[in-house]
């Protein structure tokens, strides 16, 4: 039969798109490995610059962790559509039937997975170099998840918006930072509270992060289908 119309299933399609991108990213490797190596070097240099005093290092740890995570987000932001640009396959995605929200959710899931994976590596390194207490880890991991979701939602949207432009590597961080500053600030404050064992404000920062996530994901998903159309 000609022209079969497959039933669009948003969740399954988004999952398979993210899975495919992760497999391709791991096979290509270069982008992810370069980012992790660069960020590990940044952490090491910051650790050496701050000196050997454990208390001073522990105080700086939340800021250092989120500086590294913000850099990671900026370095990885182009990966969401980088694979499509490198292989020229964006049209293949656009020709698949149905609305295009699933492309946003698939790319977001991929970007989020990358960011959380790199974040966990950075957390281990920061804990080792900057004396982050082990007891704070579960809370910090939750902060990492909430912060990464907010960051990835915006970076995926802008990566899609700029996918056809030549200067996207330069433009993306410029557009990205003003919008992710509130996410990074809230995440730093929550992480600092957790590292110092002071839970009084942590809940409020988490709620703020959660609110940003809901707003960013909803608005970006609604706007995304329109931005992928060729002019």
């Amino acid at each position: 039969m000609i022209g079969q119309a497959p039933k669009p299933r948003l969740l399954a399609r988004s999952f398979w798109l993210a899975w495919r991108d992760l497999v391709l990213e791991l096979r290509g490797r270069s982008g992810l490995l370069a980012a992790v190596f660069f960020l590990a070097t940044v952490l090491l240099i910051l650790g050496l610059a701050l000196g050997p005093a454990p208390r001073q290092l522990a105080q700086a740890a939340p800021g250092v962790l989120w500086v590294a995570l913000a850099l990671a987000g900026s370095l990885l932001a182009n990966r969401a559509f980088g694979l499509e640009v490198e292989d020229g396959t964006l049209e293949q995605l656009l020709l698949l039937p149905g609305e295009r929200e699933w492309i946003y959710f698939g790319k977001l899931l991929f970007q989020f997975s990358l960011q959380v994976s790199v974040g966990l590596v950075l957390l281990v390194l920061t804990a080792g170099l900057f004396y982050l207490p082990l007891a704070a880890w579960p809370g910090i991991i939750l902060t990492l998840v909430l912060g990464s979701l907010g960051y990835a939602s915006i970076s995926t949207f802008y990566a899609g918006l700029l996918v056809r432009l030549r200067g996207r590597e330069v433009l993306l961080p410029l557009l990205l930072f003003p919008l992710v500053v509130p996410v990074v600030l809230a995440a730093v404050r929550a992480t600092a509270g957790l590292a110092q064992g002071d839970w009084s404000e942590v809940g409020a920062w988490w709620r703020l992060l959660g609110s940003f996530d809901v707003i960013y994901v909803t608005v970006c998903a609604l706007l995304f289908p329109g931005i992928l159309e060729g002019g």
Binding site: I2, R9, L24, L95, P97
Partner: protein, 195 residues
């Protein structure tokens, strides 16, 4: 009979330059329309507009059915094998249950299993593109220079694809420099090189 694809007064402009001007095109079920013209006359742009990948500056395009595009050269994920490329297209279309058709289809177009796309020649990529079209059977086929990079055997595959497509009620728009295909088309649309 209702047309599968209709372009009404389609014009496309890049910056100040008009690439397409007032194009009228109608593709009937079982029909073939050939786009003819020199390099730079806008054949590929028209195919992209017909596919919905580019928005026309003026005019409109009406599609009644799924669109499949064989671009020149076709694009695939180079770190995947041919079968992985097709498998993920099936998964993204919600048709994973048809994965068993893939090895047979690749054998039909003369492609080996287990080879990644970065090891493919241009002709092999074109064959993989044909396999994708045979797998999905879109109602509207848009082919951009389908004969390019293909050997005689590969061109026979295009003949088969066109035959099967038109016999089953689908339609084909093809951009080509090869006069052999013009005779097969029920209509030829000639595009002029822009100045």
């Amino acid at each position: 009979m209702e047309a599968l694809l209709e372009a009404r007064q389609v014009s496309k402009r890049y910056g100040r330059e008009w690439v397409l001007r007032r194009i009228e095109l109608s593709l009937k079920p079982g029909g073939i329309v050939a786009l003819v013209g020199p390099n730079g006359s806008g054949k590929t742009t028209l195919l992209y507009v017909l596919a919905g990948l580019l928005r026309p500056t003026r005019g409109s395009v009406l599609r009644r059915g799924q669109v499949g595009l064989l671009s020149s050269p076709p694009a695939f994920y180079r770190h995947f094998t041919g079968e992985e490329n097709l498998l993920f297209q099936l998964r993204l279309s919600g048709l994973e249950q048809r994965r068993r058709e893939i090895p047979e289809l690749l054998a039909r177009v003369g492609l080996p299993l287990g080879k990644r796309v970065f090891e493919y020649s241009s002709g092999m990529k074109k064959r993989l593109g044909l396999a994708q079209l045979l797998l999905f059977r879109p109602a509207i086929l848009l082919l951009d220079e389908p004969e390019a990079a293909l050997d005689a055997q590969g061109q026979e595959l295009i003949e088969v694809l066109l035959h099967e497509q038109t016999q089953s009620g689908g339609g084909v728009v093809l951009a080509t420099h090869d006069p052999r295909w013009w005779g097969r088309a029920e209509a030829c649309l000639t595009l002029e090189r822009r100045r």
